[in-house]
Amino acid sequence: MYELIIIGAGPAGITASVYAARKKLEFLVITKDIGGQAALSGEIENYTGYQFISGPELAKKFEEHIRKYGVEVREGEEVIRVSRRDNLVEIFSYKGEYKAKTVIIASGKRSRELKVPGEKEFKNRGLTYCATCDGPLFAGKEVAVIGGGNSALDASLQLVRIAKKIYLVNIAQELIGDKIMQEKLLGYKNVEVLNNKKVTAVLGDKMVKSISIKDIVSGKEEVLDIEGVFVEIGLIPNSEFAVDVEKNQFGEIKVNCHNETNIPGIFAAGDVTDVPEKQIVIACGEGAKACLSAFTYLSTQK
């Protein structure tokens, strides 16, 4: 029996852990990985105190921070169900079953898939959701980045010095990512933006050879010969396991300004919630708030 279980160890979960450790709560962290999406970012220039830090470096700093407090972390463990029963929260994972007085869900988001033929077959065979990880394997090759938001621009910026040519395949009329990133990217001659284009299939033999794209205005289809596909079309919340918790239309867990969900004892923080704006610094703040709210809840329960 724990006072608190934190699900996830991205910016929100890590910050909640640091606060929980300092409040000397009896708690446990269950997580698939450490660092979450932050670990996959290329360049981070808007996290206070760091004018520049890479995602993996920040993730390492996060990990060092919780290791300092000797936090109990079950890494590589995925939660499959969270529900409240008899005044307690029950948490089931593929590896075990836990009970706690409170839980903070900070499970973040994962990459949205294209859902087109060939996507599954060519995953890691030229198609990837992580430019930071796999980008360097495409040195001197022609690649396509799918998307038009900040993550697509970030992925493209990571690739400009590696790949020979980058097609940025964007379904909307124009790019929606930050202007400063757009300007930076468009300064490179090896980048070509293709607006109003939808990917309809990923093609190849052993590895990716091309993608089929359709112009959503003219309806015309064409084949783009590339050897790499970087899918950056947004994110979906990892909230399926929180069965009884109220969510919005996007599957994000609804929280109030105290990070409380509709179920007493269940709190949520960071990108998995409906908090406006998904940013590392915001997720950190939300994680801190969630922990302090759980702490207050615990003291009123005694």
């Binding site: 990985d33 450490i34 660092g35 670990a39 996959l40 290329g42 890479s54 995602g55 993996p56 993730a59 390492k60 890494e75 590589g76 890691n124 065979r125 030229g126 990837t128 992580c130 930071t132 990880c133 796999d134 980008g135 360097p136 394997l137 040195a139 990571q158 590696i162 052993k206 590895m207």
Partner: protein, 78 residues
């Protein structure tokens, strides 16, 4: 008797960094092959694992794709 351990990685990949940290923590000596610097390593990795995702670990011929802690542990007999 220590096993031969190779890791195919890129310097930026967080799971590569974590996998290497894990090996170090367990005092496993390993050969780090940076596929971003050497296309031969990249080809070798693709041939061995049939895919392009990093990290790939080669532990005495057993190929492990990704930072799969449990499989790494069992391959190393930890």
């Amino acid at each position: 008797m220590s096993k031969s351990v190779k890791i195919y990685s890129t310097p930026t990949c967080p799971f590569c960094i974590r996998a290497k940290q894990f090996l170090k923590e367990n005092k496993i000596t390993f050969e780090d092959l940076d596929v971003s610097q050497n296309p031969e390593y990249a080809e070798e990795m693709i041939r061995k694992s049939g895919q392009m995702g990093v990290p790939v670990l080669d532990i005495e011929g057993e190929i492990i794709v990704g930072f799969d802690k449990e499989r790494i542990k069992s391959a190393l007999g930890l």
